[in-house]
Symmetry: D2
Subunit: 365 residues, 4 copies
């Protein structure tokens, strides 16, 4: 006897859709029924000549099928809102690519629509499901690096220059969703300054820098770049006791946890003479690279989507996580428009379902 | 018969002084006469038990010695002004560590004093004398990467937290002096935004980010960090035809010149349909790592100092190069105080000997 | 109208079979009809729940199907001979995993059987179809590195300790097939010495070193190791004018072509004094990393298999390439048994269909 | 009052002599009196214009000076024997560059001469004094990697082709002296096979491979190469519980200790079915990179030399360590002459002062 499975349709057969198709077919509890694309020949090409999955170009057909319980949306960003709304209205659970919507307000609407309907709305923040981020999350939130002192992320390579979004909206959601997943609850982004440049005349920023002020006074920096001939994907969480470096392109040593750093001595520890001179000391201890399981992140996404539907619970990267990313991106765009000044980030209070403009502490105080 | 040599005194036997002592002894045309330090035992320790060079703690003695034609100053930054002024007043040529002075105004005064006295005033911008920067300079200024599209520099490691300057004033002079040396004459910094953080309570920024707006609309970014457990020293000059990466920690491949990048097609090249869709194309050509000579940069500094004195000419990194770095640093500090807004950079017009606040084009236009 | 396609069956659903299944489905001209495994549930698991490809545990059924024109064999090494013989006897073209057979004599029999029947017999020497090896082949055979001076290959990582073959038979076929593909026709292996160790008591060598004497006096060395915690896959072809390094784990710089090396001056170039002293000079020129297309090697294997069948020609890695690898492996095993002495390698003269024990020049003459 | 110091003369002002001169001047307890070279102008050039150390071209003068208690010999290899003998005969302690002598017999003579005279005879096996090797020694001899399973060393780069020794005698002493220092007392080299090639016609091997059979059945391999355009200096000690990799060119992670490997299950641990199939299991634990002090190895050499003289004891790398290296090199040369067969290594029994040809266990048993 087969285990119960729910029907899934993948919407969008472009860049990412094929990955969802492949992964869905490998996920227990999921039965892939459709691949839907406005261009049905593209959908057929993705499925190939040997598949029993149906190709269609009719979203209506998919949403009308009572066997379909959920959809995974991998259409262009500008259409996420429309497709997700229709799917929720048809009573389908939704997994959606980042960004959740083209602006914060639309994103909040979607989340509220899903909550009202009792449906799962999940973001495909794929990196949050890598073994490296799972380890980072446990380490940083568990106090394994002490208090967070700085965060630095670099995500650059010769990337696809997008026609509808700038490099910040295209790439930074990866960094921001990981930040939100890894940082402790009491370390939250309160303001953001953004700089960008469009040296090739693409009509939107192709090189971008974000500086986030965190609630504990630390700063987090993100460098995203579509024009770099070299590929770098590193993220550093500097802490008071340890610093952890994630190099996603080093498969044999993705995480390196350094017991190295600079300590400030408190005055009590110092004699009168020393007080005037020595204010810091240096630790240069061992480095540990923890063993990580080899596990495809997207498998984890699909498994979590299936589990949250089956168990009737929120997924790890629920709609609010998408809203929080939108909130930062929107403030970043505003900063870009204002010449790089810090803009406050709206705090999303998901419990009260209301949204408060944070009273931001002065930057660089 | 021995070649004519001029007498040199090194002032300061701390962190960098020993390197000047060693290098001076190897430089043709230079005769090292003194090592001077307030703490004479430190000077003696640096010279060791086998040296004929005189140790002294009296700057006056050094400056009064008519055999001494030049001094090299490696004292703490705050004292550069005083020592350099006294040396110039005594008719000595001066080589000084960065930064030239603690503020722009003092720096300009020094340069004017040297010019009035007809003496060489040279900055020890050591990196400008590396074979890598010499190659970069010829490549970038010679059009070898096309037009400059973006610049990115990272200089991070577990560094000595300074007690008198923040991380920007301590480390960024290296990056800025290289920028000024390598960039074409018509690509100059016009504004700077600075962000910093002091997560260890050191009393000054230990992590810093500079975003420079260049006169051609490109941006240059500098990340300096005293707290990083890993050491990175990379600089990227992205251009319209090539991009060059300088990795100073990779001795066998310091420079990598990529024929890779993103091109925008002009409308003329595109048919009507394509115009709506394809705006960019990608080049993925070969990479060349040019052979570079092995040569110690500080030897080049000392040789240039000797040559500029002997030949009665300006050195490559003359006082104005130090003034230009000060000008950016001062604007950066102002930006830091103002929460990260872009601050214009004073243009130093060395020919007219006057200084013009640049009319800055709007950032992110 | 659909293009003509021939029917293919994949035999073996273990480690490599799934890759053949996936690739076959993507290859033009190929129609995947069966996946055959003694354990039919394993075959079904590989195909998944959405496939129209038939799973079977009956090789006879596959071979009896007139729609099946070819088979791809990915069964355990010890069974290659039996399965390939049966397939050829049934008139099917054959693609077989390395090694072709468990010994040289069986390998030759298979090739002769295929030739007699006018069927394609191709080896899946996957690495020979990588863009890197294609470039290496053109470079080295085209004289781009001058004469070959030495070859060095390292292929180590924590590998699957095999129960039927030692590390030489498991891993070295990769290195040897690339050597044979890349080296010029007049540079051939004439003798081999092998050393091995079994420090974990596995019953067969887990660490192995091969030293090949080449016909031009150069040596080629192969280090294979199942026990290494770090993964290295590099191959160096040192030549008289250039040296090329292939680092298969560096996706952004797989090939590096160095214009560096040591030249011996001929006596004519030297004066009498110099003759006694200076016999060498050093070149330290640029390094070039050529752009390589991104292309999956196994797609190239399958495409070549299909093309050789359709066009009725020998594939690039035909049966004789498998025989040549077997010839070296068999001599290596003999050397291992004899304590590491050099053993001659039988030269396979495919045109005359006879096999000559090479008259080996004395090693290290 | 100054501490007592003994007088030292450095003999040889060529490649390595200047390093000995510099280091000697920094070592407590040592007073550098002379730099001696047949070419006195070279000696003067090394000392420079500011030194109080005497330059001389007379070894006799040096050896006749009663203030000189010790000499450090950095002359060409072929002259080590003559200079060391004369120095010992004059009652001087001796530090000598590797190799100790041009053959084993001469080396033993020297050691015996020193012992008879009660003088220190020390080898400058510099690598043995690096913090990395000190850590390796403690780790491996202390059981930190379990039993030694294999050793692999690669030392290749564009090196100075020597006119008097081949690449094995030039470079392998580094590897062999480290092996002897790091391996446990009960794991000793018993036989060696050597392969070499001279592809540039230099008259001696420029590429070399050594395979050492160790007394516990493991093998150690050394690859040395003067012709490689890339520089690699790695050494791996594979053990039953851990494996440690030393990458001397990675200053921030010289040692990496992996808790990874392959374990064989004993039959007792396995059920009947499993016994036939599963014989190994895999560990993939964390990796630790221990913090190492930054310390120049040659300072350690000089300090140990001074201490052994002052304390009247054997130095860590005494004459016997040089003899043991010679013993392996001589067998390696014999193997090279014999086409690569394993040659037994003479065991040096320093206590009994006699030398036994080891009864070698059969290789590859």
């Amino acid at each position: 006897m087969e285990r119960r499975r729910f029907g899934l349709a993948v919407i969008g057969a472009g860049y990412w859709g094929p990955n969802l198709v492949r992964t869905a077919q490998l996920t227990e509890g999921v039965r892939l029924d459709y691949l839907c694309d406005l261009d049905i020949s593209r959908a057929k090409r993705v499925l190939g000549d040997y598949s029993t999955v149906r190709a269609t170009n009719s979203l209506d057909e998919v949403l009308a099928d009572p066997e379909v319980a959920a959809v995974a949306i991998a259409t262009p960003a500008a259409t996420h809102l429309h497709v997700a709304r229709a799917a929720l209205a048809a009573g389908k659970h939704v997994l959606v690519e980042k960004p959740l919507a083209a602006n914060l307000s639309d994103g909040i609407d979607l989340v509220e629509q899903a909550e009202a309907a009792g449906l799962v709305l999940m973001l495909d923040h794929t990196y949050c499901y890598t073994p490296a981020v799972a380890h980072l999350r446990e380490l940083v939130r568990g106090g394994g690096i002490g208090t967070v002192q700085y965060v630095d992320s670099v995500r650059i390579n010769l990337g696809l220059v997008q026609s509808d979004v700038d490099v910040l909206w295209d790439l930074a959601p990866h960094d921001l969703s990981v930040f939100l997943s890894v940082l402790p609850d009491d370390v939250t982004p309160v303001a953001v300054a953004a700089h960008g440049a469009d040296p090739i005349g693409a009509g939107r920023a192709c090189v971008g820098h974000l500086t986030l002020e965190l609630s504990n006074g630390a700063i987090a920096h993100v460098h995203v770049n579509w024009l770099s001939p070299t590929k770098i994907r590193t993220m550093v969480f500097g802490g008071s006791t340890h610093t952890v470096v994630w190099d996603d392109l080093n498969p044999t040593q993705r995480l390196s946890i350094y017991n190295r750093g600079v300590d400030r001595k408190t005055e009590d520890e110092l004699g009168a003479d020393a007080r005037a001179q020595t204010i810091v000391s240096y630790r240069t201890g061992d480095m540990v690279a923890p063993a990580l399981p080899e596990r495809e992140a997207l498998r984890g996404v699909m498994t979590e989507f299936a589990a949250s539907i089956t168990e009737g619970r929120r997924p790890l990267t629920d709609g609010w996580s998408g809203v929080r990313v939108l909130s930062i991106l929107e403030s970043a765009s505003a900063s870009l428009d204002e010449g790089g000044v810090f803009m406050p980030i709206m705090t999303v209070n998901e419990n009260a379902n209301d949204f408060i403009l944070s009273e931001r502490e002065e930057a660089n105080a």
